[in-house]
Subunit: 257 residues, 2 copies
DNA sequence: CTAAAGCGTTTCATTTAATGAAACGGTGTT
DNA sequence: AACACCGTTTCATTAAATGAAACGCTTTAG
């Protein structure tokens, strides 16, 4: 790895700017972005102008900036996920229809859960987790599940290098508690998130195995606690499992992500 | 628009590098990329290192570089297209199954055709046009179709500012010829590309209308001329039209793209 | 109707960072 | 054992990014 001092500062700044454009805040002005990032407004303006000239960012009629088609184009070229997305589109959609909640496909990536694909429920109340986003391992069903099915090395490495931040009063914050929870999850072959990341949000995750028997991804259903009944867990799981098997049958040679 | 001299050169170089990662060439080495772009290999190395540190590019075990998850993440945040893609996934897939050729969803963007979504045929011989890519208006079925259904202003603006480059011996290169062709296309409500962009490649496109009656997108089928029979045009069109109607029914309030 | 405050944009002297040639250390090949 | 090729690092030179202030414009306030 190259020394930190040798990294190109303009590029880093450009991507920090791009990261400010989220689903919750899609549009930014120059001064606004300068305040948010701490960069000089001239710098922000020039960086944005450059990105506009490359179609990485578009400028609205109201002068506000938003993400542009070049990112869409490049995002669609990221080959690692293409086949996995194609293969999972239909199965997770079917699960979402049957389960009537948002369905997400997750994978471990850099000590976090990375969401690869999503099928929205048709319900009015939807969760906002978006494709391509990350969430903490210890506070999510997908995260705990995937960690539970990881190697002992991966687990210990994770526990050593991460502090378990509390997001709600239900978040697991003690490493010993998480460790024994992982054992339970592996035995019961599913994981729950009972408002551990966000109050009012419940989630169930089960593993997707490749032919070598490794859990390479998770399929999960998320919905508001108001709709969730603990006695229906087995029902949710059996629907998710239909989806998981359908995906597993289509999978060819994914070892990991 | 900002003066060209004020654009950030590092960012431009970074995106020129990223653009080298195509579906046909997904992996690059440092020297290889340096040769391709004309940049010094030290520069390429440092740019790549920066992009790796940002997860914009990943490095394989064999030291080769490829596009990374940050682009996937950002690409999925480009909001302009999200709902249109969700709405069209299933219809174009159905069309692809029935028509047995690659189906593309196109829209006009900056005097070019921009492909928003794609459903592959199951045939061995597939076309390589990818989501997010651009093609010239005058040499494609989708381009000619969308231009034909554009306003007179848009048409004349296009004809004024673009020269009609020949890609094959069949490409329309005379502006008067294109102009009269547009009239025909608008009347018959479909457009053909008979090896006008790439030899051996045939394409049929029909419009998708919004509720205001504007053609906001095209749906097209592309395949090798060896499989294509002119007498089947009406059959292709009726299958495409089923897909178009299905999309039109799902569309809510897209005026343009 | 004018003043003030907001915005994106441009300017220009100053500073900081990107640059390229060459060397380095590793791997695989002849 | 010699060579060729790779990604990587070094360091003096050069070129480009930077920030404060001013600009022109639009929107809001008095």
């Amino acid at each position: 790895m190259v020394d930190n001092k040798n990294l190109n500062q303009s590029i880093i700044k450009a991507f920090i700017l791009l990261d400010a454009f989220t689903n919750d805040k899609k549009e930014w002005g120059v001064r606004e972005l300068a305040n948010k990032t701490g960069y000089n407004k001239s710098t922000v303006y020039r960086l944005l102008s450059t990105l506009v000239s490359l179609n990485v960012i578009h400028q609205n009629e109201n002068e506000k900036y938003r993400l542009g088609s070049k990112l869409f184009e490049l995002g669609n070229r990221v080959s690692l996920y293409q086949s996995l997305i194609t293969v999972t589109n239909q199965p997770i959609k079917n699960v979402a229809l049957e389960i009537q909640e948002t369905v997400l496909l997750g994978a471990l990536k850099e000590q976090q859960v990375f969401y690869l694909n999503k099928a929205d429920s048709l319900q009015g109340l939807k969760i906002s987790t978006s494709i391509g986003s990350y969430q903490p391992i210890h506070a999510t069903a997908s995260g705990k599940l995937l960690l539970a099915f990881s190697s002992v090395n991966t687990q210990e490495n994770y526990l050593k290098n991460n502090s378990l931040t509390a997001f709600t009063q239900n978040t697991i914050t003690k490493k010993n508690e998480l460790k024994s929870k992982l054992q339970i999850i592996k035995n019961q072959k599913y994981a729950l998130d009972l408002e551990e990341f966000e109050l009012g949000l419940i989630c169930i995750a089960i593993p997707i195995f490749n032919k070598k028997g490794n859990a390479i991804a998770s399929i999960s259903a998320s919905g508001p606690s108001s709709r969730f009944r603990l006695e229906n867990v087995q029902n949710y799981i059996s629907i998710l499992q239909k989806g998981a098997h359908s995906i597993e049958n289509s999978l060819q040679d994914f070892d990991s992500l």
